[in-house]
């Protein structure tokens, strides 16, 4: 069946450094991928989405490129801020399945 895998449970970084959060997926359908962000005690909100192969999509300084050849949709940012501390979920359209999530913790 369909699945989404996020390999990092916790990523801790110092402010100003770059970050990449991994997301790979399995599906038999044409994939539509999402990244959601959840700040403490809030509901998840959409960060960005894509269904176009090899096209970079960006929002709020974050970016990701869907690579169908490697079934990946990694989330990146060139310089993290304290406000980026949150839970990040990768999700696959269909039943809307979420990965286990990556907690991003930014230190001053």
């Amino acid at each position: 069946g369909d699945s989404v895998t996020q390999t990092e449970g916790l990523v801790t970084l110092t402010k100003g450094l770059p970050v990449m959060l991994n997301c790979t997926y399995q599906t038999t359908y044409s994939p539509f991928l999402f990244w959601y962000v959840q700040h403490l005690n809030e509901a998840p909100k959409l960060l960005l989405k894509s269904s176009t192969d090899n096209k970079r999509t960006e929002h709020q300084g974050f970016y990701a490129t869907l690579h169908k050849s490697s079934s990946s949709f990694h989330l990146q940012k060139s310089s993290v801020q304290l406000s980026d501390s949150a839970l990040y979920f990768c999700a696959l359209e269909g039943k809307l399945i979420f990965g286990q999530g990556t907690k991003l913790s930014i230190k001053p």
């Binding site: 999402f34 509901a43 979920f89 359209e93 039943k95 809307l96 286990q100 999530g101």
Partner: protein, 111 residues
Amino acid sequence: EAAVTQSPRNKVAVTGGKVTLSCNQTNNHNNMYWYRQDTGHGLRLIHYSYGAGSTEKGDIPDGYKASRPSQENFSLILELATPSQTSVYFCASGDANTEVFFGKGTRLTVV
């Protein structure tokens, strides 16, 4: 912005009791979802619906039932609550290949 309202926001239930979590959306979305969120497990899909009268099993449906009596309402029912069902439950609504909108969550404690 799209609105998804969950009730109650907090609930303490006794083991073996029946619990109903309610969700209402005013977005006219076809799809609605119920997830539970536990530390280390992310968001796990319990049940979902593609429209009024339809319900589908998600990845962890055991111990849960769902009901979609109208476009706007989607309920999650725990007929015999157990302590293992203590969790935060999120309802969401959306249409295919578009953003889904989440409610603020229901914190359920089964004692």
